[in-house]
Symmetry: C2
Subunit: 335 residues, 2 copies
C-alpha cells in the first residue's frame, strides 16, 4: 500500500514516517511506498529508505498529482503553526485552509472516478479550544467541550475538522481528526512560540545550557511525548469507524502536568545539577497567553481505542534522553 | 449610510429590507442606500424605493466591487439551502463557503486600505447542531451546545461562523453570527425541504387547501415568526460587542412548540373548519429526519439583548394572516 504523509519532514511527521517504515504495515497491508510531502527536504535517513518518495514544495502544488497517482491512505500533518498564522494571515489561510480543501477535493475526485474512499487522519490540535469570553473552559477540555478558537491556527484546525467530517459523511473519504496535545520534548532550538518553554526547560538543561521558565511553577498543561503522539495517529488510522465513534474530532491522550512536576521529573531522571540550570524569570506576555490555555485535557474516546497518556513525566524525559543517545537521527525533523 | 443585504430578494432578506427601509436608520444613522444582492431580482416594491440598488447575480461576482464601493454594514443572508447542498455538493461549497470567504476577503481589503471595520451580521442556522452519534443533543440546544452538523448546509454555516469570528478577532470586520430558528409561517408553495410542513400545515388550510402533516402531533421544534427573526437580525447588528458577548454565534429566540400546539393555535385563531383541512399521513423518511432535529432551543444571550420569542403560536398565525390581508407584497420574496 501507498501512504502519504503531508508535513512528513517535520518533527512529528518524520517520526511518524520512521515508525511506519519500522513496523512496515498498516491495517495488515505492507507499506510499499511512503510519500513524504513537505515544503522542505525530508531528513536523510528517510530519503535513504527505498520505499520513501519525497515531494518538496507547497502542499497545494502536490494535490493535483493525487488525482493521477492515488494513495491508499493519508496522514495530513502539514500546517503553518500558530505564530506564523498570527503574523501572516494570508499564509495561514493558504497553508491550512486552502491546502486542506485542495487535498480533500483531490481525494473526492478519486472517489467520484470510482476509487475507494481514501482513509485520512488529520492532525488537529488542542488549540481549537478557547476560552471564549462567554464560554469559560472546564478544568479539563474533553472530546465534547465546545471549541472557541482564539488564534487563526486554532480556527483553521477546527474548520478542517468539520470539512473532513462532512467529506466523510458523504462517503468521499474515510476521515478522522485527532487533536494533538503539546508535544514535548521537542528537539532543536527555541522557536519563539509561547509554548516553546515546555520543551526548552527540559532540552536546554539536558544539553548543559541555561533555560528560562517564563511562567509560574504552578502552571498546568496537557502534554504528550512524540512517540505517544505518533502511536495515537496510527491507532486512529487503524480504528474502525465504529471504534472511532462518530465523525467529530477526538482528543489524543494528555498527561496533565504542572511545570513543577516537569522539573521534579528532571531532577529524578537527570539530577539536581541539571534542574539547577532552569531559572524562573516571569514573562508577562507569555504568562498571559498561557493563562488562557487549557490546564489539562481528557481523552475518553482515545482511551476506548486503547490509547493512554504516559504514566508520568519521568518517562517522557527518559524517552528524550534515549532518543538523543541512541538514535540521533530520530530527533531530526525540520520543525 | 449604505447597507448591503446578500440574499436580499429571499423571503427573510426581503422582509429585512422592508423593515430597514421603514425604520430608515441603523445605529442612529440614516439609511441612504440599501444594496440588495441576490441571484434573482428583488420584489417590485423594494425596487420602487429610491434608496434601493439591486445587484443580480452570484454573490461571488459582487464581492470584487465591494473593494471599490464600500458599504457601512452587511447583513449576509445569501445561502444555498440544505436540500440544494445535499443534492449538489459543489454548488453548496461555492454558494456558502467560497462566497462568504470572498465577501470576508473583500471587507478585509477595505480595512487594510484604511477603512473602518465593516459591521456584518451573518445568518447562521439551528442546523449547525447535531446530533452526532456520540454527542446526544440536550433537550434544548443552547448558545454553548456543541455543534455537530449532519448536513453540508449545517457544516457551511458553522465554518462561516468561525471564519467571521476570526476575521473579527483580527479587527478586519466587526462580525456577529446569529442562528436562525425555523421561520414559520413562510408564504408560497411547499419547497421539498423536510421542514416544509412546519409552514404548510398552517398556510395551506388558511388558503382553503388540504395539507398533509408527515410527523406525529407530539413532535416539538424551535420556530420563530418572520418578523421576530428580522428584528433579531437588526438587534444583533445594533448591539455593542460587549452586549453581543464574545465572538461565537448566538441562538435567536425560539418558540418551542409541538405540532399539536401549532394546530391548536390554528383552531383558536381560524376555527376548527380550517384545522380540519390538515390530515396526518406519516412519511417515514421525513419523520426520520425530523426525529434527529433539536426539539427546542434556548437563547440566553439573545434574551440579554432584549430579544424574546413570541408568547404563543397564535401570535405567529395572526402575523401571517395580517401579512396576507393587509400587506400582500410583504409576502413576496423569491424563496
Amino acid at each position: 500500500m501507498k501512504i502519504l504523509i503531508t508535513g512528513g519532514a517535520g518533527f512529528v511527521g518524520a517520526r511518524l514516517a520512521r515508525t511506519l517504515l519500522a513496523r512496515g504495515h498498516l491495517l495488515g497491508q505492507d507499506i510499499t511506498r511512503l510519500v513524504i510531502a513537505d515544503q522542505v527536504a525530508a531528513p536523510a535517513d528517510l530519503l535513504a529508505d527505498g520505499r520513501v518518495e519525497a515531494r518538496v514544495g507547497p502542499l497545494l502544488s502536490h494535490c493535483a498529482a493525487l488525482a493521477d497517482e492515488p494513495v491508499d491512505g493519508v496522514f495530513h500533518l502539514a500546517s503553518a503553526v500558530s505564530g506564523e498564522c498570527e503574523a501572516d494571515f494570508d499564509l495561514g489561510l493558504r497553508s491550512n485552509l486552502d491546502s486542506t480543501r485542495a487535498l480533500l477535493d483531490a481525494l473526492r475526485a478519486r472517489t467520484l472516478a470510482g476509487g475507494m474512499p481514501t482513509r485520512l487522519v488529520f492532525a488537529s490540535s488542542v488549540a481549537v479550544f478557547g476560552p471564549d469570553p462567554v464560554v469559560p473552559l472546564p478544568a479539563l477540555v474533553g472530546d465534547t467541550t465546545l471549541p472557541a478558537p482564539q488564534t487563526s491556527y486554532g480556527m483553521h484546525k477546527l474548520v478542517c475538522e468539520h470539512l473532513i467530517a462532512d467529506w466523510t459523511r458523504k462517503g468521499f473519504i474515510d476521515g478522522r481528526a485527532a487533536r494533538l496535545m503539546t508535544v514535548t520534548v521537542r528537539p532543536g532550538r527555541p522557536n519563539g512560540a509561547a509554548s516553546s518553554f515546555f520543551s526548552g526547560i527540559l532540552r536546554e538543561p539536558l544539553a548543559g545550557e541555561e533555560a528560562i521558565c517564563p511562567v509560574d511553577a504552578s502552571v498546568s498543561h496537557p502534554v504528550s511525548s512524540p512517540q505517544r503522539t505518533v502511536e495515537g495517529l496510527i491507532a486512529v488510522y487503524e480504528a474502525s469507524r465504529e471504534a472511532f465513534g462518530g465523525r467529530l474530532a477526538l482528543n489524543l491522550p494528555a498527561l496533565n502536568v504542572t511545570v513543577q512536576q516537569m522539573l521534579d521529573a528532571l531532577v529524578a531522571v537527570a539530577g539536581p545539577q541539571v534542574r539547577a540550570r532552569v531559572r524562573f524569570v516571569r514573562d508577562e506576555r507569555i504568562a498571559g497567553i498561557v493563562a488562557n490555555w487549557p490546564a489539562g485535557a481528557t481523552a475518553e474516546r482515545a482511551a476506548r481505542l486503547g490509547l493512554l497518556p504516559e504514566n508520568n513525566f519521568e518517562d517522557i524525559v527518559r524517552q528524550y534522553i534515549r532518543d538523543c543517545a541512541g538514535h540521533p537521527t530520530a530527533l531530526k525533523g525540520t520543525t
